[in-house]
Every structure is written in C-alpha cells, then in structure tokens.
C-alpha cells in the first residue's frame, strides 16, 4: 500500500491552497478554522506569498479582494461569526467580478454559538447572506482528500468565472484526521483568469464580457486604466442606473455560473435502482453511506445522493437524478436548509423528509437507519 499521510481537513485545505498557487491570505483566526490560518502563516511566506492577520473579518475579505485585483490567487478562512461579517464584501466581489476563495468551517450558531461543535447551519447564508439578487458558488467536501481537491477546484472556478467561491465544511471534516494520498494538480489543471480583450487605451472596456459572460479584467499594474465599483456599472466600469443594464448584469452574473454543477457532479452511491434515497453532504454523507449499506442488507433499495456543489443548483439534473426515488430523506446538521432545494425540485408525489439535527453532535448511522425503519419501509427490520 502506498504511503498515506495522516492529516486533517483544515490542513488539507491549506495544502490544497498552496498547491493551487495561493499567494495571499488575509484572515482573522477563528475556531474551528484556525489551523488553516496557522499553517499558512508559516508556509505561505516560505512559498513566496503574503500572510496578513487582519483586524477583523470584514477587513480580511477586503484585503483578499485587493490582492486579487492585483492578480494574485487570494483567500481567507473563517467560521459562522466571521462569515456573517464577510457577507458585505462577498456581494461586492460578486458584482465587481473579483475572484476569491472564502473557506467557512461551520460551527453551531447563531452568534458565537458553540465555537467547537460541528454544524451545517450556514448553507442558506451562503446562498442569501448578502443583499440583492446574485448567483453564488458553494462547494461542500466530505473527506480530507476531497477538501484538498475542492480547494483546487474552488480557485479554478473563482478565476475562470471571476466570482467569489465559498468552500464550506463542518467541524468534523475540518478537524478529522484520516489517511490520505494527496495528488497535487498538474500545471495544466490550474485554470487561468480570462485575459483582457483589448489593448490599453481610452476605448478599453474591462467589463466587456467574454463568450462565457465573464468580465475580462486585467490585474492592477498591467498597464491598463479601469474603474472598479460596487455600483452597477457599464463595460468601462463606470456607474450606471440604466434599468436594462442593471437587469442584464444581474442575469449575466447568475448565468455565468451555470456550468459549475456539471464540472463537479454529485456522487451517486448505489443509486441505479434506489427508491429510498438519502441526500446528504459533508460529514453526514459519510454516515448516510453506511446506512445505505445496512438497508441494502435488509433488502431495501437504498441509495445516497451527495451533492458536492450546494450552490448553484441544477434543478433539472437533480429532478432527473432522483426520478426513481419514492422517498427522499435529506439529512443535515441544521433545521432543514438544503431540503428546501430538494423539495422544490421534486414532484409532489415524491415523499421528501427532512432530518435536521442541531445541538452540536454529529448525525450517526444508527439515527439514519432508524429513520428508514420509522418510515416503515418494506423489509426493514426495526431494531
């Protein structure tokens, strides 16, 4: 057996960022994400990057946005209370089309809540936390190895589509150590930002979108003069209140995210003939997999549908993937957040059940298996 390393999810995130070419980290350490800052504070400078501990989370994301405008791959890492403070700048980065990565290691909220206990309570905040209509990107890994790989993907998506990306996982995934073999991305696996379309000059339009609907900003210092603002803006970047322009920009910024679900398709485990399906992400999906195996032993056609992209949602694909399911249990460490997506996408005939667990203790295999028994599925022995 090849040599496996014993590392945590937070460590894998830091390593994945370094392997992706991270050059700037601005952050404010907070449990349960602190190891990401801790590791990068020593390793990023040695890799030629800059690490700054900022005065708070608003300033953290502000510094990241500035570094990104300078052309660098930049990120921050936080947890619920800090994620709340970052919502303003997430909206700014969306509208101004500034690539950046925000890692949110979820703990129990609201407010300072339980700093050391796992949760998945920030899923809807990632979608709607910032004001105004905007498309959002949130990725959800379920293992240490996947934290590493999705950190690389997150930077790629951020750069190619010029958008903020949120990588969110629960405290269990962040702190769990497991044996992994990490495969660094090859140079050709790292996606570049779109290049400016025109030469510097009075006619240059930094916000003229390419075929994918993505602005083609140069980096500060590239020799171009252009304007960046959180106001709606024309292709030169100057403010506009033109209703058509505003409407079209909102639509374009949402539409440009459409390819993401196909880039990172969901994991479908024993789904081909499943009529009883768990939908779960992060740590919960790990125990759901065990529950599926146990139900299969009892003759129940059970399966697991594990989204790796929580936002944006491809509703048509979700509906198609779950077309055979008669009962769908959406298990989450919150009061039922992503279940709303599933319920909205599926036809009324599908029985959608929310299993939302709060309190700071992880969901267990026994609990998920027990739900199936409680639903009186055929051939399940009640334990």
């Amino acid at each position: 057996m090849a040599k496996r390393e014993l590392i945590s999810g937070n460590e894998a995130c830091a390593l994945g960022a370094l392997a992706s070419g991270l050059r700037f980290f601005g952050g404010y350490p907070i449990s349960p994400s602190s190891e990401i800052s801790e590791i990068l504070s020593s390793r990023l400078p040695r890799a030629g990057g800059v690490f700054v501990q900022m005065e708070d989370e608003m300033a953290s994301l502000g510094s990241v946005i500035g570094a990104s405008l300078g052309g660098l791959r930049a990120m921050t890492a936080t947890s619920g209370p800090g994620f709340t403070l970052m919502q303003e700048h997430l909206g700014y980065a969306s509208l101004a089309e500034i690539p950046c990565l925000v890692v949110d290691v979820m703990r129990v909220g609201p407010s300072t809540g339980v700093p050391t206990a796992p949760s998945q309570g920030d899923v809807m905040q990632a979608r709607w936390g910032s004001h105004g209509d905007r498309g959002t990107v949130a990725l959800s890994p379920a293992s240490v190895e996947e934290v590493y790989n999705l950190t690389v993907h997150a930077f790629n998506i951020a750069d190619r589509l010029r958008t903020p990306v949120v990588l969110m996982f629960d405290e269990v995934i962040g702190h769990m150590r497991e044996g992994v073999e990490l495969t660094p991305p090859a140079p050709e696996d790292l996606w570049a930002r779109p290049r400016p379309a025109g030469a510097p000059g009075p006619d240059f339009r930094a916000y003229a979108p390419n075929e994918q609907g993505v602005a083609q900003l140069p980096a500060f210092g590239d020799g171009y003069r252009f304007h960046v603002t959180g106001l709606f803006h024309d292709e030169r970047g100057y403010p506009s209140t033109n209703p058509d322009l505003v409407r079209q920009t909102i639509e374009r910024l949402e539409r440009k995210l459409d390819p993401i679900p196909a880039w990172l398709p969901p994991e479908k485990y024993r789904m081909s003939d499943a009529d009883f399906v768990y939908v779960a992400y992060g740590a919960v999906s790990r125990v759901a997999r065990e529950a599926v195996d146990r139900l299969r032993e009892q003759g129940v056609a059970a399966g697991l549908y594990r989204p790796r992209v929580l936002w944006p949602v491809d509703e048509a694909a979700l509906r198609k993937d779950l077309a055979k399911a008669r009962t769908v249990v959406v298990a989450e460490m919150n009061r039922g957040q992503w279940v709303q997506v599933v319920a909205q996408a599926l036809p009324p005939a599908t029985h959608v059940v929310s299993y939302g667990k709060t309190g700071g203790e992880p969901v267990t295999t026994d609990e998920l298996y027990g739900i199936a028994a409680d639903l009186n599925l055929r051939s399940v022995k009640s334990s």
Partner: protein
Amino acid sequence: MWRKEIRLAGSGGQGLGLAAMVLADAALRAGLHATIMQSYGPEARGGASRADVTLSDQPIANPWFPAPQILLALSQKAWDRFSPKLGADAVAVVDLDRVQGAQGANVWALPFERTARAELREKVAANMLALGALGVVLEHIPQEILAETAQSRAPKGFGQVNRTAVARGWRLMGEALGGIAHADSVGP
C-alpha cells in the same frame, strides 16, 4: 468488517495527542484505516486532553463516537469523566498511580509513569508505555510497527526512548494478561 473506538484521555502535557498520532499512523502502516478527533478549544484549555482514535479494516465513515470501546485514562479527572459511559464490554487501561477506584473485569491498572521514571529515566515516556499496552488490547497492529512508528514520530532525541517504551508497555500488559504481574499492579 471490524471497527474499534479508542479514547486516549488525560491532562495536557501527557502527550496524548502524540500517542493518538502514533497509534493512527501505525494503523495506516499496518494497512488499516484510522481517524483521529482531538479535543481543543475551551475543553483543552481546562487542562483536560482527549483524542478519539477509530481503527478499522474498512474506510471509516464516522470518526465520532459517544463512548469508546477502549479507554486509556492517565488522570483521575479523565477516569471520572469517561468511565461512567463505558459499556459492559468496554476495556479500560489506566495509570496505576494516577487513577484511584478503577475496578472491573476489563479494567487494567498498570504503572506506566512509575516504570517510565524508574527504567527509562523519562517520566514523559509514560504515554508510549500506555500505547504499548493498548497495542496488546487492540491485537491488530504488530508490536514492531507500533514501536517503529513511535520512534519515527518522536520529538528530537526521544526516538529510542519511545521505541523502548512501547516494547516495555507491551510487556507490562502481556504480563498482566498472563497473570504474571503482582496483584497490586493489575486490577482486579
């Protein structure tokens, strides 16, 4: 498929975090799967230290458990806190001089710290003695792999001490199980 849930508990500075890393890493080297969840934050700052290690021959879905199958307690506080939750089949290994009142059919009280001080001249090697004893209970990790891992993961200058400590702990437990040890060093 088998799964073993082990809690290493004591106070800060006893090296339980390192012991967990050595145990899980040795399991990987033995071709097994392992996860660690470690206490931190306010809980760790209270002086208590805890690391939960899960071992299996299959990939581990859930690294979390409410009560362990095997408890190592190196402090009275750790014993008092975690022993009430132990199931009937659970095995406990405690430091003879650190834990009072640890009794039961599956409770083993061994002189880890005393032996570390007397024979290895390093009180801090008690964690590796305890790990050696756990190795006997676990059955799935060969002594040589555990000792080798303890050596390679040791702080600078402690490699040989830790290797020897694992072997010595292994022997302590072996003697206890074989009924060779003195009555007062093994309970009951």
